[in-house]
């Protein structure tokens, strides 16, 4: 367990670089092969490609085929990492994933960059915020949404060791690297980043950093928050969530995703069944994004530390 005041900022990096660096380091594992659909640089796969040109396959702008090829590659025991932007890695190819990977339980790792509204200026066509919902609905799938460079690096290495179809979601913005070097990464286990008693904050992906900043402000006002970093959306670490809400009696879920179908829905459903708990959500409110800088967009759509602070202040003031 950590306390926010102990978290050190170790640099400024994008999560996708954590993926690329881990891939480059794993290059000696001859089982690992990578595919990309004309976005090799964006996925930070240049180093892997350079080191293992015979295990990197250019799929061209043909994502449906890339998913099927990855499934076929995996049958022999290879571990294919199929990569592109999150929209084209999920929504564009959902039936292919469903039949050739999920239902067939082929060991394919779908690794997707530029997820969420923080993709920024390209606008709503590229800002998918439905992908976690799509992917967690599929039986057999593991869904992971890491929060910083280092956790993405850890997650990339961890999923290479499993046999499960997996969706790994990361993004484009440059953010503080704050997950401690000695932090464990275990698929399906939440990482506790702060201990508090007034409210549980559950955050995933880029919103973890927003939550950290919010808690620093709230603590100055005497509000103490439990912070759970849920990097694995599926399987969900319900035990950790339950232990926390039994203490605090309130939960705020923060995600860069539609509230419908995302982590908010999943936690609401599970808690309603076993331990009904008042819940609020910082998420996309059934709307598309738009062009803008990641920062401006996060503020406009309320996916920000300011909104977390405001929401908790008014909730606890009642």
């Amino acid at each position: 367990m950590y306390q926010i005041k102990d978290l050190l900022i170790r640099g400024q990096k994008d999560t996708r670089s954590g993926f690329g660096d881990a891939m480059a380091e794993m290059v000696d594992n001859e089982k690992i092969v990578a595919l990309c659909a004309d976005l090799t640089g964006s996925l930070k796969l240049d180093a892997f490609k350079e080191k293992a040109p015979n295990r990197f396959f250019q799929a061209g702008i043909a994502e449906q085929n890339m998913i099927g090829v990855a499934a076929g590659l995996s049958l022999s025991g290879l571990i294919p990492f199929a990569t592109t932007f999150a929209n084209f890695a999920t929504a564009r190819v959902y039936d292919q994933i469903r039949q050739s990977i999920a239902y067939s339980k082929t060991n394919v790792k779908i690794c997707a960059s530029h997820a969420g509204i923080t993709l920024g200026e390209d606008g709503a066509t590229h800002q998918i915020m439905e992908d976690i919902g799509l992917m967690q609905m599929l039986p057999h799938f593991i869904v992971i949404n890491p929060c910083d460079y280092y956790q993405t690096y850890q997650a990339t290495k961890a999923i290479a060791l499993t046999q499960d179809p997996t969706y790994l979601r990361f993004g484009r913005p440059v953010l503080p690297v704050f997950i401690p070097e000695n932090a464990p990464f275990e698929i399906g286990k939440a990482l506790k980043l702060n201990d508090g008693k007034d409210i549980t904050i559950v955050a995933t992906g880029h919103l973890v950093w927003e939550a950290v900043q919010a808690i620093e402000i709230l603590e100055k006002e005497g509000i103490s928050c439990d912070l759970l970093n849920i990097h694995t959306i599926k399987p969900l670490d319900l035990d950790a969530i339950l232990a926390s809400v039994k203490k605090t009696g309130k939960i705020l879920v923060c995600e860069e995703h539609q509230r419908l179908g995302g982590l908010t829905s999943t936690i609401a459903l599970n808690l309603s069944e076993i331990h009904p708990t008042p819940l609020k959500s910082i998420s996309m409110m059934d709307t598309f994004g738009e062009s803008g800088t990641p920062n401006d967009l996060m503020k406009k759509y309320g996916l920000s530390s300011e909104n977390i602070v405001k929401t908790i202040q008014s909730w606890l003031a009642l």
């Binding site: 061209g60 449906q64 085929n65 050739s100």
Partner: protein, 281 residues
Amino acid sequence: MTKNIEISPKTLAQQVRRDIVRMVYEAKSGHPGGSLGCVETLVSLYLDVMDLHSEFRMNGQNEDMFFLSNGHISPVWYSVLARIGYFEVRELATFRQINSRLQGHPTPYEHLPGVRVASGSLGQGLSVAAGAALAKRLAHEKNKVFVLMGDGEQQEGQIWEAASFAAHHKLDNLIAMIDVNGIQIDGRTQDVMNNRDLAEKWKSFGWEVEIITDANDYDLVTARLKSIKAKQNQPVCVLLHTVMGKGVDYMENSHKWHGNAPNQAQFESAMNQLPSDLLDY
């Protein structure tokens, strides 16, 4: 080769036809037309063309691999897999029933020997086969990967993505076969959505194209597939001209029998048209 099967391929083909009609009749659903048309191709692949281990291995290492992209013709595949000993012939009776490994469309989900990836949603099998072929090349294996598709299925865009991919990556161990029966659900393929000249299309995508004018002629299809396999040096597309419903007169060349089950009288008529020395399941 797998098969220490003593039966002649043509005898087996006849029995496979009986199995197909019986399975669809008993399940009161399924796809007899395409299944009957592809009997010679599948029997030939499994008995005479492919090099296979005696037992099914999921990883397909050091053996030829087969993928069925047009998964709706599962009856013919299931019958062949059972008849060559991958599983008990009597299991064919469970086709499309609850708790069966013989799902309406093939899947490894229930661990049926012979099936490596699910199919049914059309257009995906060539991509999967291309991936398997790529893996064989990485492993320096000499074996081949076969995939069967439908001609209506050629309307799916993903197939043309896969066609580009296989040619670009020079997959000279991949053999794509198309069941050219000229028919799909709503009618004749040329009326539903004209594929135009499939041979020219595949050639223009960088494939070698082979045409088997009568793929219901066992000796012809076997000789041709063997020689294609032996002399291959680029991805090959084989256009198999077949007759939908082959062997059952009222089913032949009719789109009505793409996915329809015979009634009792029709079933008996089919059985009379398909005498066999082998035992039904």
